[in-house]
């Protein structure tokens, strides 16, 4: 299954623990430098929740934390392994060309 880049960022952030919207935006910005807007974040969360990759937990002071599901963990692992394989191949080819 194809996961858009912003969904990978959200899933990677949730792999480190449950987070609500604001914490997700701050974490994604910290590890990737990408600044998500509220609309983009909730668009990605809506899609991920629909696919069963994340689960919304009970509200905590008007904020809903999100949790990575086992299916989301598997999808993220698959996508990251694919990215790692492509990155490794690209680096090898660059090294050979130099």
């Amino acid at each position: 299954m194809h996961l858009p880049e912003r969904s990978v960022l959200v899933l990677t952030s949730l792999a480190g623990g449950d987070k609500h919207g604001y914490a997700l935006i701050k974490d994604v910005e910290a590890f990737s430098g990408v600044v998500l807007s509220p609309g983009t974040l909730y668009g990605a969360l809506a899609r991920l929740e629909e696919d069963g990759f994340v689960k919304r937990l009970d509200a905590d002071d008007r904020r809903y934390p999100y949790r990575l599901t086992p299916a989301g963990r598997a999808a993220l692992a698959e996508r990251l392994a694919e990215s790692a394989r492509i990155a490794s191949l690209g680096l090898r080819r660059i090294a050979l060309a130099e």
Binding site: H20, G21, I25, S37, Y42, R63
Partner: protein
């Protein structure tokens, strides 16, 4: 600010607004309060994204409707064709195949013996070539 936010959230499809509207509003307020982000920029970004969601949702529902209508029409047409074929006594697929095979073999001649006709070949199954009409 809250009123503008409420108006912008109206751009989102109802399902998404009901599920995530309060969270989006809360997060936007947090970003303005804690991150010192520009409210106008955030509202414009939300409006653009909301319109995008609305268009995507509209397109998706239209596609689903179009597929459902096309499938229904195709089913009705097939049923009608089947009923019409049965009524007219059209050949069964087996008969149609046999006829096609005969047509592919071309004209056949059959020799008939024991009468005046025995000296002539009678075309029992042929497709006459088009030519000038005899009178």
């Amino acid at each position: 600010m809250d009123r503008a936010l409420a108006w912008v959230l109206l751009l989102y499809p109802r399902q998404m607004r009901r599920r995530y509207g309060l969270e989006i509003a809360e997060l936007t307020r947090d970003l303005i309060r804690l991150e010192d982000r520009s409210p106008v920029r955030l509202l414009v970004s939300l409006a653009v994204h909301g319109l995008g969601c609305r268009v995507a949702w509209f397109a998706r529902t239209r596609v689903v409707t179009a597929v459902a209508v096309t499938t229904s029409v195709a089913c009705v047409a097939l049923v009608n064709m089947g009923a019409a074929s049965a009524k007219q006594g059209d050949p069964t697929p087996h008969q149609a195949k046999a006829g096609l095979r005969a047509a592919e073999q071309g004209p056949r001649t059959v020799r008939v013996e024991g009468s005046l006709a025995s000296r002539r070949s009678i075309v029992s199954h042929s497709h006459p070539k088009p030519g000038p009409a005899r009178r």
